[in-house]
């Protein structure tokens, strides 16, 4: 038992209420909410997909048409409009720069970007759009973020399958392709952990949600999707390593284009892993801090 202080929030970080076994050690709240709920998460993810694409004539094809159009626009602008960008030379630290055509370079980099973009902007909004599960019934709230994330992952895997067909013909099959199973789950986890922070905060304040969306509209050009993030000189070269989006975009290129093991550029890997830990624990901290206030503010 603890005493309620006058006019206080009664301890911002308290977890005193113990309803049907919830609460407990704060670190494991999210874990406990997922326990035994796996099948439901998949079912809810499937229904999230249906919700997104139902009522459209070509239905799920929109998941391909939209990114395809975006890719076409960028390719058109850079390869046909600004005529200089036909080939990209990438400095991977080897003796000779790696050279490839612009379209392949962009295509492989932009596929993870679609997932990242949706994960960040949609992820921040998710709790607000699923508020019926928070304010009306008892629900393991953190699983909302998981199943919506999972539905985005399904779309991502679909796009990857299409991209891989292109890769087979254009670049060729390689053992390094299997690194996808390292990068993809890591990407899912990273942006899930990020949403543990952003989603409750966006539910709390619409300004925060708008902030996230605004930032994301610019982040595309700050990340190495249209250009090579390794290609900078001086301190900027290192600044780019701190952008986790670069880690994944370059990671996918490691798998499908550069044929380079994920541990080759150790500085990049270590910086990312450090960031992942920070985001992970920050997510747990923020989720626990705000979870019990969510029903009051939504």
């Amino acid at each position: 038992m603890f005493v309620c202080r006058k006019h206080s929030f009664c301890d911002y970080f308290s977890h005193s209420a113990n309803i049907n076994g919830q609460g407990g050690i704060p670190l494991f709240t999210i874990f406990n909410e997922h326990k035994g709920f796996g099948k439901q998460i998949f079912l809810l993810a499937k229904n999230e997909l249906i919700k997104t694409y139902k009522g459209a004539v070509i239905g799920p094809l929109w998941a391909v048409v939209k990114p395809a159009f975006t890719i076409f626009v960028y390719w058109f602008a850079f390869s046909c409009g600004i005529k200089t960008l036909k080939a990209v030379n990438i400095n991977l630290g080897g003796l000779e720069p790696f050279s490839t055509d612009f379209f392949t370079f962009m295509f492989i980099g932009i596929i993870p970007w679609f997932f990242i973009q949706d994960s960040i902007t949609q992820g921040a909004k998710t709790l607000r759009t699923n508020r019926q599960f928070i304010t009306k019934v008892k629900f393991p709230v953190s699983t909302i973020l998981t199943y919506t994330g999972l539905s985005r992952l399904f779309v991502h895997l679909f796009l990857i399958a299409i991209m891989y067909v292109y890769v087979i013909f254009k670049v060729g099959v390689s053992w390094y392709n299997l690194q996808f199973f390292f990068y993809c789950p890591l990407m899912f986890m990273f942006f899930l952990a990020l949403s543990w922070s952003t989603a409750p905060m966006s539910a709390f304040s619409k300004d925060f949600e708008s902030l996230v969306v605004s930032i994301m509209s610019g982040v595309f050009w700050l990340s190495g999707i249209m250009y090579d993030s390794y290609g900078f000189e001086g301190p900027l070269k290192y600044v780019m390593l701190f952008n986790p989006i670069n880690f994944f975009v370059n990671g996918y290129r490691n798998c499908f284009l550069y044929n380079r093991p994920f541990f080759e550029y150790k500085t990049e890997l270590l910086i990312f892993l450090a960031e992942f830990l920070v985001i992970f624990f920050l997510g747990i901290f923020n989720y626990n801090r705000l979870r019990k206030k969510l029903p009051d503010v939504l």
Binding site: S14, N18, K136, V137, S205
Partner: protein, 243 residues
Amino acid sequence: MAEPIITFKNVSKTYILYKNDQARFKALFFKPKNPKTNKALNDVSFEIYRGESVGIVGDNGAGKSTLLKMITGVAFPDCGDITVNGKVAALLELTAGFSMEMTGRENIYLKGYILGLEDEYIKKIEESIIEFAELGDYIDQPVRTYSSGMKMRLGFAINVNIEPDVLVVDEALAVGDASFKRKCKNKIKDIIAAGTTVLYVSHNASSVKEICPRSIFLKKGTIIFDGPTEETLKVYEAAKQKK
């Protein structure tokens, strides 16, 4: 008596009223200084034992809903301890909490999992839920295609058929047409007769008297009186008259 099924120990809940959106944004990072607050519950303590039926009376804004939300596990207190030992079924907002794209049947399972039930058990009660809700073939259609009456019936059927340990009922419950209403009332009576703990919220003195031997009178978040319904209602009436 036996171990209490619901225990509230010095439970308080304060809603913070933010001046504007800026204040709300700022509160994400810093504790607000002297915010305007609304104390929904103030140092509430009580125990409810297995098999008891307890009425909760009070005017609008007395904290009844907040109290029920805490028992159902939707809202959380700022301080104090709440213990609920058992499955809680809430007949409050029956149409809430469905996943619209899922079928009625899938929603039964969803609800069951949230309540911590096992597959086997849900399979056992599934048919009785469908039968009670009178949904027929609609049970395998997405819930979004249901009429509001059908959604309510399904919501009601799920909640009463999970064999809850605690049943929370709001008297202002709407469940559709007269015949189904009668069916619901009978079902609630059966559940009470079976020895389930019932929390009954109402403005209507006579219906509380009918169901609950014990009542709690809430006013502005504080328990004014907790005792036999007869006496509670007297205090409640007196408080009303004073106004």
